[in-house]
Amino acid sequence: MGYDMELTALILLPFFGGIAALFAGRWGRDAERWVAILALGLALLILISSFFSTGDGRWIALERYDWAPSLGVQVILAMDGLSGALLVVSLALGIVSVVVSWKITEYPGLLNAALLWTVAASNGVFLSFDLLVFAFFWELMLVPAFLLISVWGHGDREAAALKFLVFNAVAGLGLLAAVFYLGATGDRVTFDAFEVAERQIPHGVQVLLLLGFAGAFLVKLPVPPLHAWLPDAHTQAPTAGSILLAGLLLKTGAYGLFRFPPMLFPEGFATLAPFGLALGAFGSIYGALLACGQTDAKRLVAYTSVAHMSIVLMGICGGVYFSLMGAGVEMVAHAFSASALFLLIGALYDRTGTRDLRELGGLQQNAPRFAAAFAVFFSAALAMPGTANFLGEALVITGMFQVNWIFASITLISLVVSVVYATRLFKRVVFGKSRRTEALEDLTLREMGPIVLLAVATLLFGMLPQMLMGALEGAVEAALTPVTVP
């Protein structure tokens, strides 16, 4: 199908933008940042314009050309509603993270380059349908994210960055082994996901391959017991790093689980789904309970991400229409709410120099705009109706009621515990009095911009979800594999 190079532009533009930003230091004072915003803005424009081009029903856009024929590797980029929505999130959060890290003075060139490369790699993951290219971008994502944490982080950032990298690299090996197996055992050496989907893979092998794939996705998702890297990575990462980590990298795990298991290993997925459900259920409670016990604000929000993404896992493994749609909506909603919370906590950290909940407080008295912003995303964190988070979680719960009542009640328990940790965070940060936040200057316009953007997105998708849910329709139909839970 003759399509022009829209999708490749979505990957290459941020990539070369990164390289340009690296050397843009000489042109002007903030040249790197403007180059970064230009690249991301252009990519966003192309993305929006591609939405209006009429795809062939299932795919909004599809591109296919050879990369290394002798290896059997060709670049197949396809975009449907789900990847379209996640691409919008990716580019939007890219711009937000560039704006947020405007004040960082150490090596701004490499900083913006790393931000852009993370976005480029994630775009690659969301678009590629050639398994080796998917694995290539999957592992590539780690390198810039690692850079972000290890260079601009706080505290003992090397250990956190190394832990993040080793966890994900090792899990990525499982994915690589499975992809190489798929490539090697076909009738001809090819990694084309569509071809592999038609192939009749014996049941036992399907389960093994799915374990390889799921291993990588669950570490990135993060679901306990594979989540150990997330809290450290989040606490030590700079604000922009946390935003990209929470808003983007976590979503690639969820996207992978949403897209490939039902497509490539239907039977394998049907057998492993109940275990996925159980793991998700455990994760949502475990993450929520741990969040209640944290004293570091960022660590608390990190554990909330574990809980929310475990709910997304339950949604995907549910396999029914509502749970899958809920998982899709929750993915997008969590991207917005988690990155906004990180942004606020980062801004607070820049002003007070601490993230320890015991020392914070008194925002209501000194910085009303700050408190208002916290209130909006506090309500998103505990899935208040009217926010997209509630829509996602309510859909997942409806789906779970269709699958199994126990899992539904566990999700509800997680919802209730979410109130405990959300109010704890809010009470410690906004209410009360603290001498640290005495002379606190309120949010500047530059910081308000991204927050308003994220707040409008959360509330818009919460109140008028038709646009988002319509987009996800196609992907959900493809991923429907009703699961019989014993």
Binding site: S70, F136, E139, V143, F146, V166, A169, G174
Partner: protein, 447 residues
Amino acid sequence: MPSFPALVPVILLGVGAVAAMLAAPRLPGLSRWIAGTALVCASVALALRLGAPASLSELLADDRLARLAGLGICLAGLGSLAFLRPAGPSKEGPALLLLATLGGTVLAGAIHAASLFLGLELITLALVALFVLPLDRPALEAGYKFLILGAAAAATLLMGLALAHAATGSLALAALGGEGVLLALAAALLLAGLAFKFALVPFHMWTPDAFTGAPGAAAAFAGAASKIAVVVALIRLDAVGLPEVWALGLAAFGGASMLLGNIAALRQDSLARMLGYSSVAHAGYIAAALGAGAASAPAAAGFYILAYAPALLAALCVATLLGRETRIGDLRGLVWSRPLAGAALAVALVSLAGLPVSAGFFGKYAIFSALIEARAWLLLGLALLGSALGAYYYLRFVALIFRRVEAPAHAPLRWTDGLLLALATGVTLLLGVRPDLLLDLVRTALG
């Protein structure tokens, strides 16, 4: 007699070595230049004849594989020459390097017992001299250990060849394939001899000490160039269809090397010693792939070693740049104080770890596919575990390179080091994006 053009590279190297040896005492600069030009001419000669039709002679096979391997060895030799520091009284470094490259080119084309033995021993003895060059205590110690083990391995190799000769009456390597106890014993001893040079586990003990004690360039040559030659020898012997012990031995030693090499390198603080252990591990990957005996194994082994060489050269060049005993602490903020060295080391380590946009990623792809194709599940498991451990200890160093620190700017790099680092990083990144360039080359070479 093979056609004259086939021998041009060998002759060039030989003459170059002698000339460099003569010029060494009084004109060390000149001897480096002679060595450099000899290597460049040899490489150009080999490169030009890459496409020429293959021709076979009693001792040396002048086929595309030999030329590609010879080209690889000469380039690796050139790379090592770039950062060979003239240390202490002895200035014969370049000449010895040329001798070793000559040995490598001979070994690459060896199809006869004599040329195999001559090539191997020429590399070993030249390397012993190279190790000892600085004449200080660690270098002497590394040289001595290399000599003792090298000689033992040579004797083992010869014993194998002798038994084969006694059994078949012919010294051609092709005659090694066959049934019978004598031939099996011969194959075993032959593998032992080659395994030493390839640094597989029971014979690997010289590698870490060599990488730490010997000068960086010598260790680089031993780790990269000589291994290319040995891989070619292994591929040729593989094609002969040796008795079962050969494949079994290779697989067993490969598995053991992958495991022990990676575990031993886990918490090494010295960069060179970690690279030593990791070169044992990488030898393990290649041996396992060859041992598993899949159809795509030789191509995978060839691609892997050619992708491994530039990364090792760059890493060791930076190690020597930073002084003899570079501990992990010295790397703090390297990319900010010496941008090119830091970036080159980072890309090299990322490639050794096998992360994307580096040749290592597709090297891992080739090896894993070969293991999968051969259904060698245990070896695949060990390879996965190995690269998992590898991900940790390589990236441990990378973590520090990007640390934010206000290090004063260092003296600018010498142009040869800078050129080598730039070229090595460029090749690694290029292969990371377009691996098929090299893979097609290796596949056509293997016919």
